[in-house]
Symmetry: C2
Subunit: 336 residues, 2 copies
DNA sequence: CTGAAAGCGCTTACAG
DNA sequence: CTGAAAGCGCTTACAG
């Protein structure tokens, strides 16, 4: 009696029940071609009767569109995972997922794992949002090879890709100005060793400003992968060789955690002996005691912007190469 | 010369270059059938030469598998979004994404929006992880209709689905015991109005214990959608009608924020006048001043467990209906 | 406005 | 171990 028994109904079934052809059902569904109102009604009824749900895989194969975008970052797990896992990546992913819906798209979360190729092997996408890529970023390379449209959040180093500007320069400026205003005179900067534009810009602004103030610059490089512990050790060394340091700018929040631990172990009071600031206003910044002065980057707005740009790009529309994100705002807390 | 110019290479191209049939290429790729080592080598070389990448949509259509799982929750945005957006959902999603890789699967993040049907319209999945569903949960209903395998984190109310137990009873017990130990005598409970097992269990434990202690129970119901503001107003009312309240158990962290604001506005000191505890150890709990005593639910482990169970379910293996999650641990902070 | 047919790129019985 | 062929469920020219 029921010829659809045991399997999911298809357009074919809908067509048969509605007394039309497959093509007409498809047209009614997509709205690409006009369909007679009465015919459409018969089709809608057949769909309801059968509980028809389109097979997305078939549709994707036919159209070549996946209605999926992906979000990813190459920041190592030590930084992007752990207790700050809910950082950059997740904050952006949450916002992008919501905005992707406006474009009938789903969001795939590509986790930061050792091998980007593994992470991407089973994800098909129309486009990708890549967060703070490094020079020769593995994700960027893979995506380029696949010809996937990309929008970068942050700034790409070498590849010529559209990006949403997060105002690195301004962010560094805000934090440095704050430290100086608070009376810090001997300010150290802790940055990651990976080649990321954010580091270069931060470094540049730091050095030029220190030069201007007549303060000898003091830059500590820590591999991102060493995370909090690496920063902890580096800070101990720093304070031994430069006991007069009274301000520390940790470019990554995981580093800031290490800094705070080192200061505690060395018996330095925060903020009276040493003022500490960091860039990302995440869990770590809020949870420290005293809580850390940081910058609200307005990641939800940045993600919304990036999603919209990516959708334009996928649709073949022209987009600007650089789009300014919202202006970051300083969040002053006890650490400074 | 190059017959693949302008389009992505397919198995057909690989087969031609390697001098074998499509089927053999497919077998070499999937490892489902044995392939002569020498033949395999020719195929691998052809793949490398062409830069062949399998078309996932075609594979999915053919096999019926999407190699995708989804994570979702029906908690309204007022609770799951905003400054606690990085809560439950994201913490679980991050962990699930990493563990899904072990099963060659990608993770789709289904955002908590008003219309679950819209959110699911364009996502194909082999299975889903549903977080703390309510009675007649819209996501659960949609998934059931589609026949999608589901693992619940928390506990399903009506539907008979496998779940990972988060120890609601024990969690309520830990928080109540802590409040009593700290000297609270008049303890109020603030729960959501939605029908979720977590509320029922918490309520039950609270009422039975208050009865035992001879403390008159005082339960405030706030619609989840009203979030922090709803809880704020409810707490003001509560303190006016029950000025002797000296302990508050907020079942949702957004509610706890409202509680804290109300206490400040009423001039009640925390913890000396009123002790406050909440369940979820998220951003809100950490950021409050004083920070809130909460419970670490070990969501990453729970997500890992749920992912593994879901994969077993998808593979057709038998799984237990109830799987115990890790034992939650109390995180004592300044609020109590 | 509608239908018949081709074809997207895979995998999998089936046959050898 | 390998090949030839069917077919997954759609959408889209093409023809009427």
């Amino acid at each position: 009696m029921d010829s659809t028994a045991g399997r999911r109904p298809t357009v074919k079934d809908v067509a048969r029940i509605a007394g039309v052809s497959q093509g007409t059902v498809s047209n009614a569904l997509s709205g690409m071609r006009g369909v007679d109102p009465e015919t459409r009604q018969r089709i809608d009824q057949a769909i309801a009767t059968l509980g028809y749900i389109p097979n997305l895989a078939a549709r994707r194969m036919r159209t070549g569109r996946t209605n999926t975008i992906a979000v990813m970052t190459s920041m190592p797990a030590a930084v992007s995972a752990g207790s700050s896992r809910l950082g950059f990546l997740m904050e952006i992913a949450a916002s992008a997922a919501i905005h992707a819906l406006d474009y009938n798209s789903a969001l795939v979360l590509v986790p930061p794992v050792a091998d980007p190729a593994v992470a991407l092997r089973h994800v098909a996408m129309d486009g990708a949002i890549v967060i703070e890529p490094q020079t020769d970023d593995a994700f960027l390379l893979l995506l380029k090879r696949r010809g996937v449209p990309v929008v970068v959040i942050g700034q790409p180093a070498s590849v010529d890709l559209p990006w949403v500007d997060m105002h690195y320069y301004r962010t560094a400026e805000m934090l440095l100005a704050h430290l100086l205003t608070q009376g810090a005179r001997r300010i150290a900067l802790i940055v990651g060793t990976s080649s990321r534009v954010s580091h270069h810009v931060t470094l540049e602004r730091y050095e030029s400003w220190m030069l201007l103030e007549g303060i000898p610059p003091c830059v500590i490089y820590v591999p991102e992968a060493d995370g909090e512990d690496g920063s902890y050790r580096a800070t101990l060394d720093l304070l031994r060789s430069n006991p007069d340091i009274d301000g520390i700018f940790a470019s990554i929040d995981a580093f800031a955690s290490g800094v705070m631990r080192a200061l505690r172990d060395m018996g330095r009071a925060v903020p009276s002996d040493v003022r500490v600031v960091t860039r990302y206003n995440g869990l770590r910044a809020r949870e420290e005691r005293p809580a850390l002065t940081a910058v609200d980057l307005h990641l939800d707005q940045i993600a919304a912007l990036a999603t919209r740009l990516l959708m334009d790009l996928i649709a073949g529309r022209e987009i600007e190469r650089i789009t300014a994100g919202p202006i970051p705002s300083l969040v002053v807390r006890g650490s400074s």
